[in-house]
């Protein structure tokens, strides 16, 4: 099949970007979206042009590296599927695909389709963990965890941190991402002691980053390749409100967002 790819090209954050149109022939319906870009890139390199930069690693839908908007939809038209597992048979011969990076103030562009998602790491740093240093764990079976609890925790823990939720949200909110981690850890008995501080700190960091607010639209969960349910946002809100009322914990630390990459600008 033949496709026309309209791809956003931008050298770096400071230079202006624009769409370039590339016809791609010999598209095999079995190919993945990323393999289709590989084919295009090989031909660009052979012509002496720079290939389209895009993020990818595992190519089996679990590392969370890949992702871009395809015709305005994060990861493309197939539900519960990352761009790397999206096969070309879902498109029609002769179709035009518009491919552009995640667009969010909190995800500054690096090049072409590659964006900086370190804001998500900083939200985890703020409290997305259980404070148990190596060596001080009790036996794994000491605390029974009901199957329903473990299953719900796993549903939330399946998040791959790709950022599709942010890209899909008209407000560019990170509520689904943050809520998923707060839910995963807060549901489990091991995560209970830190539940308040975790919610306060992670929400505070999320608010420090230039993400928008959640207005319960639900585009995030529709775009999520791992189908993280919208209820994780409700759980986050409940934990946050509870923690705010209880006032057990006022040790909330946030860090300033870093957007530079130069090693000399690092502390």
């Amino acid at each position: 099949m033949k496709l026309t790819l309209k791809i956003w090209r931008q050298k770096n954050r400071d230079e202006k970007g624009r769409f370039f149109t590339y016809p791609v022939e010999n598209v095999n319906p079995e190919m993945s979206m990323l393999e289709c870009l590989d084919v295009l890139n090989e031909s660009l390199i052979e012509r002496g042009e720079e290939p389209v930069a895009f993020e990818h690693d595992c190519r089996e839908g679990i590392c969370g590296s890949c992702g871009f908007m395809i015709n305005g939809v994060a990861h493309g038209p197939q539900s519960a599927t990352t761009a790397c597992q999206l096969t070309m048979r879902h498109f029609k011969d002769g179709q035009e695909l518009t491919i552009e990076p995640w667009r969010a103030a909190a995800f500054p562009l690096i090049k072409d389709l590659v964006v900086d998602r370190r804001a998500l790491d900083r939200i985890i740093q703020a409290g997305g963990y259980i404070s148990v240093s190596t060596g001080n764990a009790p036996d794994g079976n000491n605390i029974p965890v009901g199957k329903d609890i473990a299953d719900r925790a796993m549903d939330a823990a399946a998040c791959i941190g790709c950022g599709a939720c942010v890209a899909a949200c008209p407000n560019a909110s990170a509520a689904l991402f943050t809520g998923a981690k707060i839910s995963h850890l807060g549901i489990l008995p091991q995560g209970k002691p830190e539940q308040d501080r975790r919610a306060l700190s992670m929400v505070a960091q999320m608010n420090t980053e230039p993400f928008g607010s959640c207005t319960n639209i639900g585009e995030c969960t529709a775009a999520c390749p791992k189908e993280i349910p919208l209820e994780v946002i409700a759980t986050m809100n409940r934990d946050y409100r509870g923690a705010t009322c209880r006032k057990r914990d006022d040790l909330v630390q946030v860090v300033a967002p870093v957007t530079g990459w130069s090693s000399s600008s690092k502390s």
Binding site: C63, I110, T134
Partner: protein, 637 residues
Amino acid sequence: MKLDAKIPSGPIEQAWDKARFDMKLVNPANKRKHTVLVIGSGLAGASAAASMGELGYNVRCFCFQDSPRRAHSIAAQGGINAAKNYQNDGDSIYRLFYDTVKGGDFRSREANVYRLAQNSLNIIDQCVAQGVPFAREYGGALTNRSFGGAQVSRTFYARGQTGQQLLLGAYQALERQVQAGTVTMFPRTEMLDLIVIDGQARGIVTRNLVTGELNVHIGDAVVLASGGYGNVYYLSTNAKGSNVTASWRAHKRGALFANPCFTQIHPTCIPVSGDYQSKLTLMSESLRNDGRIWVPKQKGDKRRPDQIPADERDYYLERRYPSFGNLVPRDVASRNAKHVCDEGRGVGETGLGVYLDFSDAIQRLGEHVIRERYGNLFDMYQRITDEDPYKVPMRIYPAIHYTMGGLWVDYYLQSTIPGLFVAGEANFSDHGANRLGASALMQGLSDGYFIIPYTVGNYIATSKLDKVDDSHPAVQQVVSEVQQGITSLLSIKGKRTVDSFHRELGKIMWDECGMSRTAQGLEKAIGQIRQLREEFWQNVTVPGSGDDLNQSLEKAGRVADFLELGELMCIDARDRNESCGGHFREESQTADGEAQRDDENYSYVAAWGYTGPDSAPALSKEPLEFKYVYRSQRSYK
């Protein structure tokens, strides 16, 4: 070179206790004065960096991905072994140790494997405490599943995403230390060389993948946890970015590379469908519990599978291995699939595939049972192939999955360069010639959480470490060599893309150094690789510059290293004229075509030293002794 594994004396059960007691400690107040550089943020790297941060060391952790959470450990599906004996089915540390040594076909180091089995208990506890949502029984206890190569049920799992959950546990522990200020994380940063001063590993040179800057990081110890080298085959189940560069450049600075030819080929992957293919997707080993593997009896039978009557099908694993049937270990299953395809009986358009058929199981148990057990895998298969495995048999074929070889390390996980430690898949020590399922996660975390933090401390406490800074001539020398390497890649401006070289190398490796190997084929491959390498340095084209994000340049550097490693793998495979585990030499097989080990001549670790670009590598041997596990020929008949 004489290799001293430094295995503690005395009974194996007490070796690790003894070693820990004999180790020198670093005063808690002094730990923050010592910098440890950790390369890689997978299970081994993240757990090591987090644990050393907790202890108070000043840790710098590097990964080439945009976040430490992307490391390829995340893709592991099946599970992690631990000798908890929660099922009361007779498991013990000793049994896990025994199974692992036997599964590795007696080419691993007993003392290391014993310690691995001991640590397996602590790993599960640690991960549960971190909030890893392992599968549970209704009553709340941890549950287990069975895996290949063992007769007890000792595999812990989190759906089909065990690696993801364990890695996120380690990643979260790491991010906690980043917040605490003990660990500084350097994402999108690739290690390009090792700095060795006065015989000690004292730092690394990295490239900032966004700005192209080269930076020097000086430390008191370097921990390489940069994963395996399966991508030398181009097509593998590894992530696209997985590479050998950190290990290989350390090798060129003096670290010996052990058993490079020991690679694992996983029998159940989705077959290649075309030239554009960029990677292979694994289907979990657990499918072989209910799926039956077959090919048509007749060569070139092009009928649809449902039109081939039962008596014209060859269930070759059940036929050849009546007692293990479809559940033979990975190396045996892979070799047999290749064998029937070589005979012209493979299925699918390319003829490189065999059926994994669930129709009998569906008939016996009902579709709902199969859906419950394997639903997510069936969905993934359907997503990729557009075929419904509930109705049509899956097509599978073996693919490169894991590399047992790696940098040589002693019992303390220290390489032949003092101060350079190697953890996880990047080292060679625990899996011998074949890794059992659910053991990779165990090893990565054992190394990172429970070994590296002690042994690195011991090294720091017992070594004389002079002050070094960026202006040291040895540092400047390495930086300028790295810069030169980058400049020359960019200035060749030839006609062929990096990927085209990589694909060609992969094909040579797969054909001659894959599932079955011969002296003649390996000889041929060595010549072809040399030629290809020569062409690469004359005719590769790398567009763009070195001053920004340039994915072609990143790939070019990695492929240049694979082109050197590939030759060493073939040399090692040629040198080892026996079959063991995943290494099958056609010259060394039993009368009925099974792998024939040669303990008399090859019961050693082959550790290769780099001697220069055009000279033969130097072989050092570490003899392997088996005092606890009786050496036998593996049989699954």
